[in-house]
């Protein structure tokens, strides 16, 4: 299923969509986004590849509310496995429109992730409950991305598109365009921990000959970060990796098929540096081996950004729904295969030679089924002449094991496992 169109969006295509958006029907806030213009490019914001979870209530369409002065977005609608959605998740408004955010459930806020240059939206970071509302008037054209901090990981994310076009970035160049698509590299779904210092944005250093990446910056609960974690450079740029703390290395996780970066796997300390010139366009991901579990991961994008925006890490389709459908379909396919297999299996077993030996494959079916013969003991032992000494020995051993293990678990494992709750 396509939830999002991002890998092959081009400027010309967006132009067509922009025209289509104008004719779309405005719908009431929170209503299903049918009949609206689709496929606004949010650079992967609504997928699980951007920070936070995939947005289950974003179905690829942007609700068109242009032509209205006031628009309502509900905060905390039923979505994403609880009351964790913005309704609608993506909305298009005219410049100068006031958007009212209305809390319909508890413990949410509105945190701005990204907005066009020159815009001054600060969101509402205080956590509020049902009944609260907050509004902001959007003047500057472009895409505004926001989320709810407590429920970001559930996929409580939204976007407001102001004006016909949502693109704010600079101009393109002659260089080949490369989408900043890191898959789930910066999340804990990939190897190692989540990179806490990756906020979804890629530092744009295109047009420079030399770029510095610091190794071991303060991040991820210690000096376990690359600074910046994700950087975009032009082809032919030399990247200098400079160690600013101890015991790190640079291991290549993935690179374009025809690239030949080998990283620097030797573990080095503060003061060391290493550089490599990146010629092949594409996405390179790397990490520090000693601190992979802490989330010390990085990425370098070589090439210009599509549409000139140096912004967010894009991504494939919403991974969660995609993965689920695969399982669902394979279970279904398996069921169908099993149903087709059943007659074959049945005929196999019907013609199988019985193990009992009496009669072959075509032997007659008898009217009455005979059981095995009853077991005949060598010696009959009655209740009074029977002392279960073996049983007594076994249960005595069991008793001793129980007592020993209880004592060990209680007095060594439990009471030695302080601190303990004492009041």
């Amino acid at each position: 299923m396509t939830r999002l169109d991002n890998n092959n969006t081009t400027l010309s295509r967006r132009g067509v969509l922009r025209a289509a958006a104008g004719s779309a029907t405005a719908l009431a806030a929170g209503a299903a986004a049918t009949g609206t213009a689709a496929a606004q490019d949010y650079g992967g914001w609504f997928t699980g590849d951007a920070k936070g979870g995939a947005v289950g209530n974003y179905d690829g369409t942007t609700v068109d509310q242009t032509g209205q002065d006031e628009v309502t977005v509900e905060v905390g609608v039923n979505a994403n496995g609880g009351s964790f959605g913005f309704g609608p998740a993506a909305v298009r408004v005219d410049p100068g429109t006031t958007v009212n955010f209305e809390w319909v459930s508890n413990t949410h806020n509105v945190v701005v992730e990204d907005q066009p240059e020159g815009a001054d939206w600060s969101g509402d970071e205080e956590i509020n409950n049902e009944g609260y509302s907050y509004s902001h008037t959007f003047e500057t054209e472009g895409i505004y991305k926001y989320y709810c901090d407590p429920h970001l990981s559930m996929g409580m994310k939204g976007a407001v598109v102001v004006g016909g076009s949502g693109d704010g970035g600079g101009g393109g160049s002659d260089a080949p365009t490369v989408e900043a698509d890191y898959g789930d590299w910066f999340t804990s779904d990939a190897d190692g921990g989540a990179a806490g210092n990756f906020d979804g944005s890629t530092a744009d250093r295109t047009g420079q000959d030399e770029v510095t990446v610091e190794v071991g910056t303060n991040a991820n609960g210690g000096s376990f970060g690359f600074g910046p974690p994700a950087v975009r450079v032009s082809p032919g740029t030399t990247v200098n990796f400079e160690w600013v703390s101890n015991t790190h290395n640079v291991v290549v996780q993935n690179q374009p098929s025809d690239a030949d970066w080998s990283g620097d796997e030797e573990i080095n300390n503060e003061g060391y540096s290493y550089s490599h010139t990146f010629d092949t366009p594409g996405v390179y991901t790397y990490y520090c081996n000693p601190h992979l579990t802490a989330g010390m991961k990085g990425a370098i994008v070589v090439g210009a950004a599509p549409g000139g925006s140096g912004g967010d890490g894009g991504g494939g389709t919403g991974q969660r729904a995609f993965a689920g459908s695969t399982l669902w379909k394979s279970v279904f396919a398996g069921g169908v295969a099993l149903a087709m297999l059943a007659p074959i299996l049945a005929s196999y077993y019907r013609n199988r030679t019985p193990a009992g030996g009496s009669g072959g494959a075509g032997s007659e079916t008898t009217d009455e089924i005979t059981e095995a013969d009853e077991f005949e003991p060598e010696t009959e032992i009655g209740h009074d002449e029977y002392d279960p000494v073996g049983t007594l020995a076994l249960v005595a051993i069991y008793f001793l094991i129980l007592v020993g293990m209880w004592a060990f678990t209680y007095f060594v494992e439990f009471l030695g496992n302080g601190p303990t709750i004492v009041g």
């Binding site: 689920g324 199988r352 005979t370 073996g390």
Partner: protein, 569 residues
């Protein structure tokens, strides 16, 4: 004369129950494999789920195996036990079929909502609430309706046992209740008393809440009602296994049950003590005074008594079989037992594993030591030994013996069947020992990715071994368990699809009389009304005050006063 020839209609009823149970077992087992690999990180990327869907898989695994597989197998098995031991057909077959279909519809509803977690684009609600469905995590109403129908369906099937017993009693006044019938009735007395709690939770609170009729529910009250049912349900699983160990296993060993009176005493103790123990799942819950936790603990420890008695009686019965085969010595008789017979080895190994599970159960029952292992992976380590082996493997052993009798078909793939119990036990040993040790190191249960990402150093500090080694054992053990499950299902499918009436069966349905019969025990043991009455009193002592205080501080919300939220509607 085989069971299917003598009681063809009852055999059909048992077949349907087993058939549905096996389908649930297949799907639930597949989920178990996915879980053990995803959680431990082996092939995590290759698995078609993400971290959030791990909980869908976990819900499916728990509900399909612990509720659906168990309930269908038990209800079917008991139809056989009642019919065989009373030696008469069911009194009102339609009642039993009505119960069966109620359970089937309930299962279907619940399964659809759970599986929907894999395909959010489908128009059903989802139910990623795990097997315990603690409010305020909310599932689609169909999930709760399904759970309620499953429980109520089992009540209806259970009514059939009592109706048949009543007819038998009218024809046989003054006779002692046959042992298997006594065990079935005792189990269901306990089941009615305890499953009432979850029925109230679901019907009074969760269904109206999920439909939006009431705005909130009290999390502590609903969870207390859940555990009112949630511990006795483990005895609902265990007692059918005991029935098999007491009445079928000695015969398979070539011996006789050592003592019928003690078997009855054991079941009476379970009727009395199974229900007033649920607070031992809530030792670390705020809002429940320490005294009530202590009452639940003494009741729980008293339940060791019937299980320890069972260990003795069943092992002595097996030893009797071995001695009748001519075995001698303190331990040499163990070798004389028919380990190559899958029905015997499955049940006997299940009993052995249960003895190990008994130990971790004692730790779980201890009030303050619960801090050490509460909600760690120790707990699933424990219940995979009990419901996951003592019940499941026993039922597999029962199937090897009973399915030929209810189908009239020879058991197929005997070699696979003979190896299967051993593969299961090896897998379970690997998985469960690692889970227990992981729990002592503080590894949490119910989590897609147990290793968190703080500060570089691993915060888990195992006593013996390493976390990585435990993860490997869990993954390998889980895989072996799935292999054993597949072996079992191949044998069952093959048997089911083969022709009936071909050749002699390899099993024999006769059950010899016990060494010490019911005449040696006082008649009061058979008076289930008395025991049920005492059980109710014990429940009131254990639950009366705490439930009252939870209701009195606001029935739908704590800290609001009894009826405040209702008036606020």
């Amino acid at each position: 004369m085989t069971f299917v020839d003598k009681f063809p209609e009852e055999a059909k009823l048992v077949r349907w129950h087993f058939g549905v149970g096996f389908v649930a077992l297949a799907l639930g087992g597949l989920f178990g494999l996915v879980q053990s690999l995803y959680r431990t990180g082996y092939f995590r990327d290759a698995l078609p789920i993400d971290a959030a869907q791990y909980y869908t898989v976990l819900t499916g695994h728990g509900v399909l195996l612990a509720l659906v597989f168990t309930t269908f197998l038990i209800c079917g098995f008991f139809v056989w036990a009642i019919t065989r031991s009373l030696d008469r057909p069911l009194a009102h077959q339609r009642v039993a079929w009505a119960g069966f279909f109620a359970m089937l519809v309930g299962t279907t509803l619940a399964a659809i909502t759970i599986l929907n977690g894999f395909a959010p684009e489908l128009p059903f609600g989802s139910a990623d609430v795990l097997y315990t469905f603690y409010a305020p995590l909310q599932a689609h109403p169909a999930f709760y309706v399904g759970a309620a129908l499953l429980v109520v369906g089992s009540w209806v099937v259970g009514a059939e046992y009592f109706l048949t017993y009543r007819e038998w009693r009218a024809d046989n006044p003054g006779e002692r209740i046959p042992l298997q019938t006594f065990m079935v009735l005792a189990t269901f007395v306990m089941w009615y008393l305890s499953s009432f709690g979850v029925a109230v939770e679901v019907v009074v609170f969760l269904i109206p809440w999920s439909l939006g009729w009431i705005s909130q529910v009290d999390p502590l009250l609903t969870r207390t009602l859940f555990w009112y049912f949630g511990h006795p349900v483990v005895y609902f699983w265990l007692l059918p296994a005991y029935l098999a160990w007491y009445t079928i296993l000695p015969k398979l060993a070539g011996g006789k049950l050592f003592s019928d009176p003690l078997a009855r005493v054991v079941f009476v103790l379970f009727v009395l003590l199974s229900t007033p123990v649920g607070f031992h799942h809530q030792y670390t819950d705020p809002g429940i005074a320490e005294g009530f936790k202590f009452i639940a603990m003494t009741n729980t420890f008293m339940l060791l008594l019937p299980s320890l008695l069972t260990a003795f009686t069943v092992v002595a019965s097996l030893e009797h079989g071995a001695r009748q085969r001519g075995a001698t010595g303190y331990f040499g008789w163990l070798r004389a037992l028919p380990w190559g017979k899958p029905s015997f080895s499955a049940m006997a190994l299940a009993g052995l594993v249960f003895a190990a599970g008994g130990f971790s159960g004692m730790i779980n029952a201890g009030m303050n030591i619960n801090y050490l292992i509460h909600n760690t992976i120790w707990v699933p380590g424990h219940f995979h030994l009990t419901v996951g082996t003592a019940f499941a493997l026993t039922m597999m052993g029962v199937s090897y013996w009973l399915v030929p009798q209810i189908t009239g078909k020879q058991l197929q793939h005997k070699t696979i069947a003979a190896a299967q119990p051993f593969v299961w036990v090896i897998g379970m040993t690997l998985m469960s020992n690692a889970m227990h040790r992981g729990g002592l190191a503080g590894l949490p249960r119910r989590t897609a990715k147990p290793l968190f990402r703080g500060e570089g150093a691993a915060p888990f500090d195992p006593v013996v071994g390493s976390i990585a080694e435990m993860q490997l054992q869990i993954a390998v053990g889980g895989t072996l368990l799935f292999v054993a499950l597949a072996m079992f299902l191949v044998v069952m499918t093959g048997t089911w699809l083969s022709r009936s009436g071909v050749g002699q069966l390899s099993v024999n349905g006769t059950i010899p009389a016990p060494l010490s019969g019911p005449a040696d025990s006082p008649r009061i043991l058979d008076n289930l009304k008395v025991w049920a009455g005492i059980a109710v009193v014990l429940v009131i002592i254990a639950y009366g005050l705490p439930l009252y205080s939870m209701v009195a501080d606001g029935i739908l919300s704590p800290g609001a006063g009894l009826l405040a939220p209702l008036l606020g509607l």
